[in-house]
């Protein structure tokens, strides 16, 4: 392998590492929220818990399913199957959209039960509100890149195939490893938040 390729490979490894660090700092944001949650709950005073398992179970299932479609997209992309990769990426994007929709309906259901975030002497719904919204913002930013990757993959399929070739594998592809890491992290993060809220709310 010539020197420039080695350098590029290291550079791509560095990008992956950046994603790991971004995940770590993202964890710290939610560590901030959940620790504030525990401190507030431990301080005593009004605190009404409620069961969220039925409210957010559909969205939890969807985001776990979307991890599977992401995996399929990543493998298809690695094999150079651009069409299928593009489709699976789009499917993952659609799952993200559905996830956000069911988070929203879950939230509407809770407010109908009287769990308002604002002007409520019970602070538990407002913590739930912030956690759900900030997680959804993370998911939405991931969806933006899913859409870009999907469109790019589709355009690559239609374009002159000599344009972009990964020099390491000689397979025509877009880069999905970082996206895949981020998306699985979104699923794991929600699973953690769901478990946390289920046990501590």
């Amino acid at each position: 392998m010539d020197y420039s390729l080695k350098y590029q490979e290291r550079n791509q490894g560095a990008h992956k590492f950046i994603m790991w660090l971004a995940i770590a700092s993202s964890c710290m944001i939610f560590a901030g929220f959940t620790s504030a949650f525990l401190v507030r709950k431990g301080a005593g005073g009004a605190w009404t818990g409620f069961d969220i398992s039925s409210v957010f179970s559909i969205s939890t299932f969807i985001i776990l399913f979307s991890s599977a479609t992401m995996l399929v997209a990543h493998i298809a992309n690695k094999k150079g199957n651009l069409g299928f990769a593009s489709f699976a990426l789009f499917l993952t994007f659609a799952c993200g959209l559905l996830f956000c929709y069911f988070q929203y309906t879950g939230w509407v259901y809770l407010t109908n039960q009287g769990f308002y975030p604002a002007g409520n002497p019970n602070p538990s719904p407002q913590f739930l509100f912030v956690i759900v919204i900030i997680h959804a913002i993370h998911v939405l930013s991931g969806m933006l890149f899913l859409l870009i990757a999907s469109v790019k993959s589709f355009m690559l399929l239609k374009s002159d195939k000599q344009l972009v070739v990964n020099p390491n594998s000689n397979v025509l592809q877009v880069r999905t490893d970082l996206l895949s890491m981020y998306w699985h992290f979104m699923g794991i993060l929600w699973l953690y938040l769901f478990g946390f809220l289920y046990f501590f709310l």
Binding site: I29, G119, F127
Partner: protein
């Protein structure tokens, strides 16, 4: 970010392509240019931050005088020639915010991490140049919001740089808690995103992009310090982001995370169940590591500059690294020493006292090693080296009072007095500026290919150094007498009338020191264009940045990257022909590598 990396073929060879002014100097992806951009932005912010301190110091020195000139210049902040009380609060808030976040965090790290990390580890650029550029431009966006908050129509933010609720959470509490505070919070959220983007990149670049032979123990201390700075930032800033988000929700959506049982103007507000102490915990979980985010890069720069200009290896290289590591870990265990008076359990106060005092150990190791690096060195006097020595002096003077304040029993007495102001300005305010000045004077030839003027540098150093002590030394005594910080004037307090003249002296010196900084700015821009042309390696330093062409080429080195054979502190090595051996020089037969 995700899909474009393969197309962005950052190859191993330097390649030239036509660039316009905009692509080269404005939306550049080159670490050298981004470093300059951070420096220029930081200088602009520092002038504004300094100007605000001159304004509020003028009020403290002459509380009954009128200044029609200042009213003409800053009409929104003055009535009848006198600074308005709410504007005074805004000035101190914005001075702290600007200096801490925009100058000493963003610009200090942004300038030197961008300049030194790729250069000193032998990389063509950052791991992700795009993320690097984005980091700068999001910083500029944050700057726009912060600047806008200063000129908010109902008043600039005035809740102090710590923005404690309920003052910061309720718009009706003060004029500055309205739109100004909202803009402040947006600016800080953007600022955190920018800092995180930078930090991710620095860590990944240091761990993944080192050139052949550049083992971790062959990295200069400047890179080590920037590495630990980025780690602290990466773990601490997200928590402040959480706090800012919760505060934004409290302000905008009526939640009660930090608010409870509040009565304004006789009418109770609907908030209940929140805790303002919770905000203090979240804030100081960042706030204390933040002071290390500021001081660690300065420490790294000073270690490097002192060794080079003493023509000696840095004393205790590994001890320096492990004390940096010690400070990094311990910086997360001391935050509540800012909250000793918030009704904390005395036992918990004791625990935080012990941790706080323990952090003095790695700090003292560093001071000891700087002094022993200087000891019997062949010290070359120039602005860079004396600013580095000035840093050590200020760090010792300010650090010693940290031991007082770290003890909860003493702190309860001195909390929120001028003693605290004196302590932190010396140890992490002025000291960090001295580290930054040392870095600018030292690496100016590397950044612009020209030398700065030494005479102007000496004048700059002399007045700033003496001025710093004249300003902050008396404040210790004021604080010990109980003079509280953040007060608009002390006319009503007979007990403090003895300090009226002292306030005048401090203010006069502040104005002189502020004006002196323009000598530096003139020197900087004049030397950029008319300074003496710099030779390839003006300080006879060993590190890799001085092997890259002076004119600064894309990719840093023509052809292959340099290969490293030794540690970065081979100065005055016995048996060597010169008093320095570059890191790229192979070991002679039988030569043992120093560590």
């Amino acid at each position: 970010m995700v899909t474009s990396a393969i197309e962005n073929n950052i190859d191993g060879q330097a390649h030239h392509h036509t660039e316009t002014f905009i692509s080269k100097y404005i939306f550049s992806l080159d670490h050298k240019i981004i470093s300059r951009q951070f420096l220029f932005a930081g200088m602009a912010w520092a002038v504004l931050g300094g100007l605000l301190s001159v304004l509020f110091r003028t009020q403290l020195a002459w509380p009954n005088e009128t200044f029609p000139v200042l009213e003409t210049l800053f009409s929104t902040w003055y009535t009848d020639g006198i600074l308005k009380p709410e504007a005074y609060n805004a000035m101190i808030t914005m001075h702290g915010t600007i200096m801490i976040f925009f100058v000493l965090t963003a610009s200090l790290t942004g300038t030197f991490a961008n300049l030194l990390v790729p250069f000193q580890i032998g990389a063509r650029d950052m791991a992700s140049p795009l993320l690097n550029a984005l980091s700068f431009w999001i910083f500029i966006l944050a700057s726009v919001f912060m600047l806008a908050s200063l000129f908010a129509p109902d008043g600039a933010p005035s809740a102090g740089w710590t923005v404690y609720p309920p003052l910061s959470a309720l718009p009706q509490t003060s004029p500055g808690s309205g739109l100004g505070m909202t803009l402040w919070l947006i600016a800080i959220a953007l600022f955190i995103i920018s800092t995180l983007m930078g930090g991710l990149n620095y860590i990944s670049t240091i761990l993944n992009m080192r050139t052949k032979g550049m083992t971790m123990y062959r990295m200069p201390l400047s890179v080590w310090a920037l590495f630990f700075t980025a780690i602290v930032g990466l773990l601490a800033f997200p928590v402040l982001l959480s706090a800012a988000v919760l505060l934004i929700f409290d302000r905008g959506l009526g939640t009660s995370f930090f608010l409870s049982n509040i009565v304004v103007g006789g009418s109770p507000l609907p908030y209940s169940g929140g805790s303002p102490i919770l905000f203090q915990h979240l804030f100081w979980f960042l706030g204390h590591p933040e002071v290390y985010i500021i001081i660690l890069p300065a420490m790294g720069i000073v270690s490097e500059v002192l060794a080079i200009h003493s023509r000696k290896p840095v004393f205790g290289y590994k001890a320096m690294i492990f004390s940096l590591l010690g400070i990094t870990i311990m910086s997360f265990l001391v935050w509540a020493h800012h909250m000793f008076v918030s009704g904390m359990n005395p036992f918990l106060g004791g625990v935080f006292t012990v941790f706080t005092l323990l952090i003095a150990i790695p700090s003292s190791i560093k001071v000891f090693n700087w002094l022993t690096t200087l000891w019997r060195g062949n010290f070359h006097i120039n602005p860079a080296s004396i600013f580095a020595v000035g840093f050590v002096s200020l760090f010792i003077s300010g650090g010693l009072t940290g031991i007082w304040l770290g003890s909860s029993t003493v702190d309860i007495r001195l909390h929120d007095t001028y003693f605290v102001i004196a302590h932190f300005h010396l140890v992490m305010g002025v000291a960090a500026f001295f580290g930054m000045f040392a870095g600018v004077y030292h690496w100016f030839p590397r950044m612009f290919g020209r030398m700065m003027n030494n005479t102007m540098g000496y004048i700059h150093f002399g007045i700033t150094f003496v001025g710093a002590y004249l300003i902050f030394w008396p404040m210790h005594f004021m604080g010990l007498s109980g003079v509280p910080r953040r007060y608009y004037h002390f006319n009503e307090f007979d007990a403090f009338s003895q300090y009226a003249n002292m306030n005048v002296i401090i203010t006069v010196v502040t104005i002189i020191v502020f004006i002196t900084q323009f000598i530096f700015i003139f020197n900087f821009f004049h030397s950029m264009y008319f300074g003496k042309k710099a030779p390839q390696n003006p300080w006879n330093a060993t590190t890799l940045e001085w092997t890259s062409p002076v004119e600064g080429i894309h990719g840093n080195w023509e052809g292959d990257l340099p290969v490293v054979h030794r540690w970065p502190y081979d100065y005055s090595k016995p048996g060597a022909d010169e008093d320095f051996i570059a890191q790229t020089t192979p070991l002679k037969e039988g030569e043992i590598e120093s560590h």
